[in-house]
Amino acid sequence: MLPTEEQRAQPDAPARIFKDDTRFALGRIAVFQYAAVTIFFVLITGFWVLQIRDRQSNNELAERNRVKTVPLLAPRGKILDRDGRVIVDNQPTFTVRLTRENLRMEHIPAIAAGLNLDPDDLRARVIRIQHQPKYVPMTLKQGLTPGELAFVESHRDPETFPELELIQSQGRLYPRDGFAAHVIGYVGEVSEQELNSADFAKYSQGDIVGKFGLERQYNDILTGVDGQRRVVVDSLGVERQRLENTDPVPGHALQLTIDLDLQAVAELAMEGKRGAIVALDPRNGEVLAMVSRPAFDPNLFATRIRNDDWKALTGDPQNPLMNRAIQAQFAPGSTFKPIETVAALDTGTIDENFTVVCNKGATFYGHFYHCDERHGALNLHQAIVHSCDTYFYTVGNKLGIDAIAEYADMAGLGKRTGIDLPGEASGLMPSPKWKLQTQHEKWYAGETISVAIGQGAVQVTPIQLATAIGGIAEGGVWYKPHLVRTDTQPEPLRRATWGASAIAASVNGMCGVVNEGGTGSSARINGIEVCGKTGTAQKVSLDLAKSGKVGRDLAKENGWFVGFAPKDNPEIVVVALWEASGHGYASAPIVRDVIKAYFDKKARLAMPKPQQIALFLRPQ
C-alpha cells in the first residue's frame, strides 16, 4: 500500500507520535505527583494546625455552644409552731451530682475520698442505677462542707473530674440536740425501694423526700416543684446565654399544734432520761408537745447520713430512732386505775364508799398479789390517792375482764389513736377473745387481777394514755390527737355515755393524788389545780426481777405520770414516761414543769404590754 500525501509529508510520524505521547504521559504523571504532594502538604499542615498547634483553642470552640439544663431545686416548706415560730428552716447549701454521661469508674475512689464517702458504697450506688438513662444525674452528696466544696470546685475541671456537677439548693436546718426530732422527722434521698412504690412514683432518683415523722407524713405538702434554667455555657461552664427559665415553687409551710415553749420545757425536763412526754389539749386533740429520748440529730440526715453515723444510730441498744411517744408499748401500771374506776362505778359494780382492807396485798385464786404498802381500810377515793393495788385487785376481780376491756377500749387503749405520724403502735388491751384468737387459750381469772392494776398483758403508748385520760377529764369525749393546726374545731372521735358521777369520782381521785398528799404530790402547783395519777409498771415479773437473771434496766420499773389541769374544763393533759426510773412519782415533776409552762405563758400573753411613751427632748 502506498503512503498517502500526508504520510509522505511526515515520514517518521508514528514513532514521533509514540515518543510525544510518552513524554506527555510522563509530564502528566509528574503534575499529578506534585499536585498530590501539595495536597498532602496542605493536609499535613492543616492537621498540624488543628490538632497540635491550636488544640486547646479548638477544644474550647467545640465546647462553647453547649446547652445545659440547670435544675432549680425548690425549697421545702418551713415547719412552724402553733404561734408561727420557726422550728425547721432551710439554709442555702450545695449539692454535688454525678453526670453519668462522662463518668469514669476509675475516678470513683478518688471522688469518694475527697467527699468522705465510702468508695464501695458509691460504686454500688452507681451500679444500682445503671439501668436508668445516662442523662439522669446521680446525687452524690448534699450539704457540702466548705472543705468538700473546695474539693469539688478544685477537681471538676474538664481535665480532672468533669463528671462532678455542683448545684445550689436549700437544705433542711433542724433544731439542735434532737429537739422534737421524732416529731419533725428528717428527709433523705428517695430510695430504690420507695421509687418502686405508688407513694413515690412521681419522684426521680436523687430527689429529696420525707423519710420519717412529719417530714414523711406531710411530704406532699412540704415538697415544692423544682424549676429549671436552660442556659448556653462555654467550655469553662460559664453561662453565656439564658434560654428559658422555669422558677421553682417552694413547698407549703406547715403550722403545727406544737407550742415551742412547752416543747422546750419538755425537752429540758427529759435531758439525760429515757422515755417520752406527750402534752395534749384534751378539748381538741392538739398535741402541744411531744418528746422522745434518747433522740437523734436530724441534721445528720439533712445531708446524706454517713454509714458510721447510721450504724451508730441503728446499733444503739437504747434505740434513739424509736419515737417512744407513739411506739413505746409498756404496761401502764396504776395510771390504768382511773379507767377502771369509771368502769366499776358506771357498771354499778361498786360505789364510792366501797371499802377494802389492804394488808400489803391479797390472795386471789390461790395466788398472793402484792401491794406496795399496808394501806389498811380505804374507800375508792383513798385508794386512788394512795394507789392501793389491793383495792383495785378486788375491784377488778368483781368487774371481770370483759367490762374492764370494754371501758379501756372506749378510752382508746389497745388501738392506734390515729395521730398524723407514721409508725404508731397499737398497744394491747387483752381480753378473753384476744387470747383465744392469738394464743388459742382460754382466759384465766388470775390474769384479770394483774390487768386490774395495769399489768399483765396490758400495753399502752404514751399518746394513748394521754388521749385516754384527757378524754375522761373532758367528761368522756375523745378527740383524735393531731400535730397540724386547722381552723376548724374537730369532731370528737368518740363520746362515751358514762355516768357523770363515775367520771367525777375518777377525776376527784386524780386531783387527790396531787393535792391530798398522794403519790403525785410533786406535781402540785400553787394556784393551779393539777390532777393526775402515777404509775409504776414492771417490765418483768417481780420474781424474775428479784432473781437477778435480768439486767438492772429490765428489773427496774418504768415510771408513769399522767396529769391534767385545771380540774374543771381541763386545757392540758400531759403524760411522762421515764423508763427504769423505779417509780411513777419520779415522773410527776416532769409533768408539773410542762403544765406550769403552759399556764405561765397563758398569763404572760394575757398581761397588757407596756405602752411606749414618747418624750420630747428637754429644751436647752
Partner: protein, 383 residues
C-alpha cells in the same frame, strides 16, 4: 545511591519536604515565636545583601566626612559609644544572672526547709488557650510528676498539674478561671474556695456574709482540696465586702508576683499549720490526692467525738457543726435553759417546785407576736 535517588526522586523529594515541614513547624511551635518562619527566612535572606549595601554606603559616607571633617573625634566618639553599649549589655546580663541566682537560692532554701517533698522545675512555655492560664514545665512523668499535683514557689501557690507528658507537664495557674483551691484565713479562720478570674486577682468564694473577715488578712491553703498541703501562703485579702449570697473577697496572689521561671512540684505533701501572725514578709492518668488535713482546734472543740451532751446522739459531722442558735426553737430552748439557771431549777426534778417562767429578769423572751398566734389551716397556708 545516586541510582536510587534518581529512580525514586519524587518520593525522596516528597519525604524530604514532609520532614522539613514537620521539623520547621515543630521548631516554630517550640520556639513559640510570634514571627512566622517565612518572615524569618525572608529577613535572613535579605539581611546580608542589605548589610553589604549599607556597609558600602556607610563606609563611603563616613570616609568623606571622617576624613575631611572630624576624623579623630568621630572615631574616638564611636569607640567610646561602642564601649558604653558593651558595658550596659554586660551590666544587664549580670543583673539578670544575679536575679536568677537569688530566685534559685530562695527556691533551694524553701525546698530544704519545707516538710513536703518537692521537685524543682523550669517554666519552658505557655499554653495557647484563649483566656487559659497554663504554663509548661520541664518535668514530666519520667520525674514522677502526676496529674493533680500542686505547684508552688516560696512565696505562694502557683497552680496544679493538669497534663503530664514524659518530659513535660502542663500547669494550670491559680489565675485560670477553672482553677479552684480550698483556703483558710489566718486570723479569723474563715474557710472558702479560691477561684481564678482570668487576670491577676483571684477571689475567695463561699464565705458567708455573716462571717468575720478583715481586709489585709492572709489566706493559706486549707488542704481541703486534697491538692495543696495545708499552710501554704496564697495571698492577701485586698477587698472584702458583702455580696448577694456570699462575701466578695478579692485576693492578690503572693506567688509569681515577680515572674515565673522556677517552680516546685509537690511530690509528697505534708500538711502544715496556719501561721497566726500576718505573713507580710511572704510573697487517663491517676489523679494525685493528698491525705485530708487535720482539723482546726476550733472545729475539734465545736464537734466533740461521741455523744452530744446527755442525748446520747452521735456527734455531728465536722461540716454540720453549728455554733449559734439556728431557729426559733434553738433560741427558745436557750431561753428556758437560762431561766432554769436563774431560778436554780433542774427541769423534771422534784427540787423546790415549778419555776416561775415569767419572773426572770434580763432574759429576752421569744414570745409570739399577736398576729402570729392566729391559727391557720394547713391547706390554706402560704409557702
Amino acid at each position: 545511591m545516586e541510582f536510587l535517588l534518581n529512580r525514586y526522586r519524587n518520593l525522596t523529594v516528597l519525604l524530604l519536604a514532609v520532614v522539613a515541614q514537620l521539623v520547621l513547624l515543630a521548631y516554630q511551635v517550640k520556639s513559640n515565636g510570634e514571627v512566622r518562619l517565612i518572615r524569618v527566612w525572608a529577613v535572613t535572606a535579605v539581611t546580608p545583601l542589605a548589610r553589604v549595601i549599607e556597609t558600602a554606603r556607610s563606609a563611603t559616607s563616613h570616609f568623606f566626612s571622617d576624613y575631611f571633617v572630624l576624623l579623630d573625634v568621630r572615631e574616638e566618639n564611636q569607640r567610646m559609644q561602642n564601649e558604653l553599649d558593651r558595658i550596659e549589655m554586660e551590666n544587664q546580663y549580670l543583673r539578670t544572672q544575679l536575679d536568677t541566682a537569688e530566685r534559685a537560692k530562695a527556691l533551694q532554701i524553701f525546698q530544704a526547709s519545707s516538710p513536703s517533698k518537692t521537685l524543682a522545675a523550669h517554666v519552658i512555655g505557655n499554653g495557647t488557650g484563649s483566656g487559659a492560664k497554663v504554663v509548661i514545665v520541664d518535668r514530666g512523668s519520667v520525674s514522677g510528676v502526676q496529674k493533680g499535683m500542686a505547684v508552688i514557689e516560696p512565696y505562694g501557690i502557683v497552680g496544679k498539674v493538669v497534663d503530664v507528658y514524659p518530659t513535660a507537664a502542663f500547669v494550670l495557674l491559680i489565675t485560670d478561671p477553672t482553677f479552684a483551691a480550698g483556703v483558710i484565713s489566718n486570723k479569723n479562720r474563715v474557710r472558702g474556695t479560691l477561684k481564678g478570674q482570668g487576670h491577676s486577682t483571684v477571689i475567695v468564694d463561699y464565705v458567708e456574709n455573716e462571717q468575720k473577715l478583715d481586709p489585709g488578712e492572709w489566706f493559706y491553703t486549707s488542704g481541703d482540696d486534697r491538692i495543696f498541703p495545708k499552710g501554704l501562703p496564697v495571698g492577701e485579702a485586698a477587698v472584702v465586702r458583702p455580696g448577694k449570697t456570699h462575701k466578695e473577697i478579692f485576693v492578690t496572689p503572693s506567688g509569681f508576683q515577680n515572674g515565673l521561671e522556677e517552680v516546685l512540684i509537690v511530690m509528697d505533701g505534708v500538711h502544715g499549720n496556719i501561721p497566726e501572725a500576718p505573713a507580710n514578709d511572704q510573697r487517663d492518668q491517676p489523679v494525685h490526692l493528698l491525705a485530708p488535713p487535720p482539723a482546726e482546734p476550733s472545729e475539734i472543740s465545736a464537734a466533740p467525738a461521741g455523744a452530744s451532751g446527755a442525748t446520747g446522739m452521735p456527734a455531728m459531722p465536722t461540716g454540720a457543726t453549728r455554733t449559734g442558735p439556728a431557729s426559733d426553737a434553738d433560741r427558745i430552748v436557750e431561753e428556758y435553759r437560762r431561766i432554769g439557771e436563774a431560778e436554780k431549777h433542774v427541769y423534771g426534778e422534784r427540787g423546790t417546785g415549778a419555776p416561775d417562767y415569767n419572773a426572770p429578769a434580763g432574759i429576752t423572751r421569744t414570745d409570739p407576736k399577736p398576729a402570729d398566734a392566729k391559727p391557720k389551716d394547713p391547706a390554706k397556708q402560704n409557702p
